[in-house]
């Protein structure tokens, strides 16, 4: 049962990472335009960007 001392903190840390990542996505407006982002992945980046 000693393994619990490692496993429980590990599971909590992993879960915590998940929630932090989620908070980050919310803060960065990643849910504002779900349809648009789905379409954007189809763009080609080949053309040089306008500066």
């Amino acid at each position: 049962m000693n393994v619990l001392v490692i496993l429980i903190p590990v599971s909590l840390i992993l879960g915590g990472l998940g929630i932090v990542a989620f908070l980050w996505t919310v803060r960065h407006n990643q849910y504002e335009d779900i349809e648009g982002d789905a379409a954007r992945i189809l763009f080609d980046d080949d053309e040089p960007k306008k500066d």
């Binding site: 599971s11 909590l12 879960g15 915590g16 908070l23 919310v26 407006n29 335009d33 648009g36 379409a39």
Partner: protein
């Protein structure tokens, strides 16, 4: 703020920062344009690359979900130039009032709910894992350790995530009422409190997972509810942002474009043909015709000449006008009418949502049973802790969870399906109320009819008469002449050469067609109306009719087939109203109704015990719409009317109103079924809990199954 900014999402936060640092410059820097036609990746690329080629554009970012592009410019770019560029690229583009939109941006409430949902979900999963170990047989020190870890995760999570429920419950308890949040808050609080006590006492059973999953499922309901309403609100805001945000004023002899809010009394305002008058005022130069249908319900336009008064909200039809403003902003007639509505609204009886009505039955019942269980077990065993345990297990297992989801899950599914059909559900309880409606009152002009009248029976005139009528009608500025001229031109008639043409005020236009005297004007018979007459031949009546809005006949027929009482209330003449009423087969049609008359008529219907749906588009309908049980307005109506109505019709056709009825009734049935499911489940669970057989495992299973059942049932409402 600096932590939040990353190159990928510079748009919104950057714009917000700009707005804070330099409010004056921000309006020119960022321009929002509505793109109703875009729908795919190719459109996004087309718009963004097309705009990026323009010299003044720094960055263009399309939001495909909102069908909108936000353009960052160097500051001196012109909105019209951007729109023209987009039109050139083949995209329909409409300007949006950035200030109206900015006020709505961000949606902090939705974000807050999402955060709470995430925290509750995280805590629930972790505690659930620990609980599984306990259910699987962990004992003694291990079990205590797991309980303690669960407590450390669960208590802060509950305190944070369930806050919206506590706040809402507290606010109604203070005024001595009960809503769904009261039993929910009690169950969450008691479950957490009991579990903490059991943990400290080294007990066997803790309900931390139940408290958290209750919070989690209910937050889903809350979030769904919020999302539905936020979507409707933002679409409504978009409609508001489409209204004349700016006007052209003549200052120091030069035309200047200013925001409507910046017009002052005494300004000379240009109103283009087809434009809406932004202020109350007096015509300084120009002659035109005004469409007042939104204000009064009259279907025929009225002539407007120098010195005539104009009222904000009227539409200028034929020629540009210059108006000297006499009242602006809050003082305009339009705004004052909006205030009248607020009065009518406050007089309307308060509607209790279904969920709260259910809570009023449910809460005392469940709390009574729990209290009885406590007293019963305490008398039977004399063990206070055991009796308390049973009572709290009863409260937890009766699961207000399914009840809390019963309504939002259904309304979300129903609103979503109606949104696709072109209906915006603005009020949370609009669908519930619509399902109970048993009478419908329609406005005429602009609602059942298109608002632009047409001249019928032109086919009956001989070709020679038509040519003469066109020549005569071109002379006069009278609204009917204008109508006739455009109708005849539309038929390809060529005007004949008339001689001796003269117009006699309040009689008609005279001319000589060869040897015959021809006349276009008022009938000399008792019936009145507009006639064409050649020499001494009988008068030929020109019937003026209105075109029905698409779907109007179907909706009226459909509603009557469903047993609804349908009535027409119009501000137009008695004759026009009764004629349309006859055409549509309505039970009753009244004309010459002033706004106050409409309110009175609705109040009279309501006194007869009818629940009335009011459909209208004009300012003269607003009071009646506020009075009605539920109201619908087409998107073509004025801003203020849309703001008052519970449901907004986005398309041209009225047909979706029938869909709204069908879906509302179905949604009502689903909500009742959902309550039924919750009751059945309680009928099984409560005896188990009261008799002391409930375990945390059972509570967890029961809660999840009933919630999922309720959600699945709600999804059946989609059509």
């Amino acid at each position: 703020m600096s932590v939040m900014s990353c190159p990928g999402c510079a748009g919104a936060p950057l714009a917000a920062e700009h707005a804070r640092s330099s409010p004056a410059a921000s309006a020119a820097d960022s321009i929002s344009i509505s793109l109703p036609g875009i729908h795919c990746a190719a459109c996004v690329v087309g718009v963004e690359r097309g705009l990026a080629k323009l010299p003044d554009v720094l960055d263009a970012r399309v939001n495909l979900s909102l069908k909108r592009v936000t353009v960052q410019t160097r500051g001196d770019a012109d909105e019209d130039a951007l729109i023209n560029a987009l039109l050139g690229l083949g995209f329909e583009a409409l300007p949006l009032d950035t200030d109206t939109l900015r006020a709505a941006e961000g949606d902090p409430v939705g974000r807050g709910l999402l955060l709470r949902l995430a925290v509750a979900g995280f805590a629930m999963m972790n505690v659930m894992i620990l609980s599984v170990a306990v259910w699987a047989g962990a004992a003694d020190a291990t079990r205590d350790l797991f309980h303690w870890i669960s407590a450390i995760i669960a208590l802060p999570a509950v305190a944070f995530s369930a806050r919206p429920f506590f706040v809402s419950a507290l606010s109604v308890v203070r005024v001595g009422r009960v809503n769904m949040e009261v039993p929910i808050s009690l169950a969450i609080l008691l479950a957490s409190g009991l579990s903490l006590y059991e943990t400290m006492a080294g007990g066997e059973e803790a309900y931390f997972d139940a408290a958290l999953s209750l919070t989690f499922f209910l937050l889903i309901g809350r979030y769904l509810d919020h999302r539905t309403r936020a979507a409707a609100r933002s679409a409504a805001q978009e409609l508001a942002a489409l209204e004349v945000p700016s006007a052209t004023c003549i200052r120091d002899g030069n035309p200047v474009r200013v925001k409507s809010a910046e017009i002052v009394v005494g300004d000379l305002v240009q109103v283009p043909a087809g434009g809406r008058v932004p202020v109350d005022g007096v015509i300084e130069t120009g002659r035109s015709q005004l469409d007042r249908s939104l204000l009064t319900g009259e279907s025929l336009p009225v002539a407007a000449d120098v010195g005539n008064k104009v009222v904000s909200g009227e539409v200028n039809l034929s020629a540009p006008l210059v108006v000297r403003a006499t009242a602006v902003g809050q003082d305009t007639t339009l705004r004052r009418m909006a205030e009248m509505v607020a009065v009518a609204e406050s007089g309307r009886s308060h509607y209790t949502p279904l969920a709260d009505r259910a809570a009023q039955l449910y809460a005392p019942l469940v709390h009574g049973v729990a209290a009885l269980a406590f007293i019963g077990w305490f008398i039977a065993t004399g063990d206070l802790r055991y009796a308390l345990n049973i009572a709290i297990a009863t409260l937890i297992i009766t699961c207000p969870c399914a009840l809390g989801l019963a309504v939002p899950a259904v309304t979300t599914a129903a609103s979503g399906s109606l949104f696709r059909k072109g209906l915006l559900i603005k009020s949370a309880t609009a669908l519930e109320r619509l399902a109970e409606v048993d009478a419908a009152v329609f406005d005429k002009t602009g609602t059942l009819t298109d608002g632009t009248p047409i001249v019928t029976d032109l086919q009956d005139l001989s070709e020679q008469d038509r040519a003469a009528a066109l020549a005569l009608s071109r002379i006069s500025d009278h609204p009917v002449s204008r109508l006739l001229a455009s109708a005849l031109e539309g038929m390809g008639v060529v005007a004949s050469d008339l001689t001796d043409i003269s117009e006699r005020a309040s009689d008609g236009v005279y001319g000589r067609d060869g040897a015959d005297l021809v006349r276009l004007g008022k009938s000399r018979s008792a019936e009145g109306g507009t006639v064409f007459q050649r020499g001494d031949l009988p008068e030929h009546l020109l019937r003026i009719d209105e075109t029905l809005r698409p779907g109007a006949q179907e909706v009226v027929d459909g509603l009557q087939a469903q047993g609804l009482y349908v009535e027409l209330l119009s501000g137009d003449t008695e004759f026009a109203a009764s004629q349309l009423g006859e055409r549509l087969g309505l039970e009753r049609a009244s004309g010459s109704m002033l706004p106050a008359d409409k309110i009175d008529r609705l109040a009279a219907l309501q006194e007869d015990g009818k629940k009335v749906l009011m459909v209208g588009d004009g300012l003269n309908d607003m009071g009646a719409m506020a009075q009605a049980f539920v109201s619908i307005s087409p998107a073509s109506g004025v801003d203020a009317t849309r703001a008052t109505s519970d449901i907004v019709l986005l398309g041209r056709s009225l047909a979706p109103i029938q869909d709204a009825f069908t879906v509302a009734r179905r949604a009502h049935a689903r909500i009742r079924e959902n309550f039924g499911i919750a009751v059945c489940y309680n009928a099984v669970a409560v005896p188990l809990a009261v008799s002391g057989y409930a375990s945390p495992l059972m509570a967890a299973l029961a809660m999840s199954t009933s919630s999922i059942l309720v959600i699945l049932n709600a999804l059946r409402v989609r059509v």
